[in-house]
Subunit: 323 residues, 2 copies
Amino acid sequence: MIKVSLGVDIGGTNTDFAFVDRDGKILVEDRISTRAFEEVEVYLGALNEKVRLACRRLPGKAEIIGIGIGAPMGNINKGTIEHSADLPWKGVVPLADLIRAHTDVPVLVTNDANAAAVGEMVYGGAKGMKNFVVITLGTGLGSGFVVDGKLLYGQDGFAGEVGHTILRPGRTNRECGCGRLGCLETYVSATGITRTLLKILADSIQESELRNYRLNELTSLHISEAALKGDKLAKMAFEHTGEMLGVKLADLVAHTNPEAIFLFGGLALSKGLIFDPTKRHFEKNLLTIYRNKVKLLPSQLNSQNAAVLGASALAWDAFENNK
Amino acid sequence: MIKVSLGVDIGGTNTDFAFVDRDGKILVEDRISTRAFEEVEVYLGALNEKVRLACRRLPGKAEIIGIGIGAPMGNINKGTIEHSADLPWKGVVPLADLIRAHTDVPVLVTNDANAAAVGEMVYGGAKGMKNFVVITLGTGLGSGFVVDGKLLYGQDGFAGEVGHTILRPGRTNRECGCGRLGCLETYVSATGITRTLLKILADSIQESELRNYRLNELTSLHISEAALKGDKLAKMAFEHTGEMLGVKLADLVAHTNPEAIFLFGGLALSKGLIFDPTKRHFEKNLLTIYRNKVKLLPSQLNSQNAAVLGASALAWDAFENNK
């Protein structure tokens, strides 16, 4: 019988999961929509069904040693998701307890970006690093901090919400799902760059192929494709997004002085389009003592799911010796 | 023979030092000006003389087990002070090496706010806390982070320069000694509040007793005294300063999620004048998951020198068993 852990990454749009062996090899993986489920119980029922179906595709009989879940505002101490701006379920969701009601397999919940940081550390570009940060650029902006080789959880398990630092306090009207104005993730994320593009389209009289889309269909991928074809307004959206990210990453360095910052997720796949302006504004805004020291790198797991791998690695560490 | 360590706090204005015993009792203390010495060698010579004089006032013959120094941009790894915006000596100052050329007593150098954080943890209000931050409000704004009971140094020993995060990127002309614009310490510090007051005096046509001072004589103490007497413009300066501090401390919490933040130094002594607006804007700007959880407290060492005590405690820990 093979042993596997189940890694789950709950994102604002989709939920990815995989059965992963001790060496980090993904044996079976699949996904369901997150956004389609307004009630968390219904969502968990659907996820459970998908997981059972995936389980049948495992090569032989398997023992699931544990479940590791990464989710926005996931809390390791309480197994909850609390007041996420990016998920359909509001308030405090007792995720681990809801799952425990249906299974004896042990479960842990952590922040999705923390999971991604563990994935990067165990299987990706942060192998051997002791102080680094992973920034996940998806529906929102997540951040996972590793300090002295360990995840930084903070007093209440909620360290690392850089997506909810304020870009220019008192000088913005851009609403965030968290109820405040001007959070970094309203500018720097897949949805953030789309909002920035809309503003650019409103201000500019230049032509752009992006004007042909229905507004609610427009995604960061369209902007990326247009920019690669030379669309000036799309390139401007990337320039602005990179500037805002670079500026706030310089602030981040002034907090924890990491060796490297990894960018992960859809926007990071835009490569130079996002990395070039981000690096330029990052270095320009760094305090002298930090300049040319902190690496800004693409995740080495961008083609795979860092958070799924990280969540499964956390489950292996936590539950392997349970039985 | 008694054993003592020498704790030194190099501030932008003055340098305080003390001989401290193993229990944290200050046996003899004194200070010299920092600002008066443009050359660091001359400064160290003068400091050395003062220390020798102080040494004679110790009760009996003493063995100095080590020297602990806190300084802005002090680096524990290299024993240097690097590119401090608040000290008269520019570039990289090899402080520990300069001292070692004159004495065999072992010496360590760290950030002054890190030293203050250790002082607060060992002797002050952070006893028993594992995750907290000390903000020092002096000539500049320093910050020392404790994570899981240990000082957060980061990859290069320079973690915790929150005074050099940018308040409103691209929206300010206020020059910082570090060469950039809009650093938090240009607003929130003893000198920062004075600059803010000047701006208020420029904008307002209201009377204020503060208009009677020579500009280069005006200090935060004058503003504090005027505010206590009801001066509206002085109170406005505190309100603005507290707002900016509260907003950026909310950002800080989104990085490391501490249990408490201690305010230390001259401005913190203004009590409600600074704490009331800071707390108000801090809570207002916190992400939901952090609200009403993070304590904002005055340092319990404000009447003593937290950095001197902390630097001496670091020296005790590092050097006690050397001989």
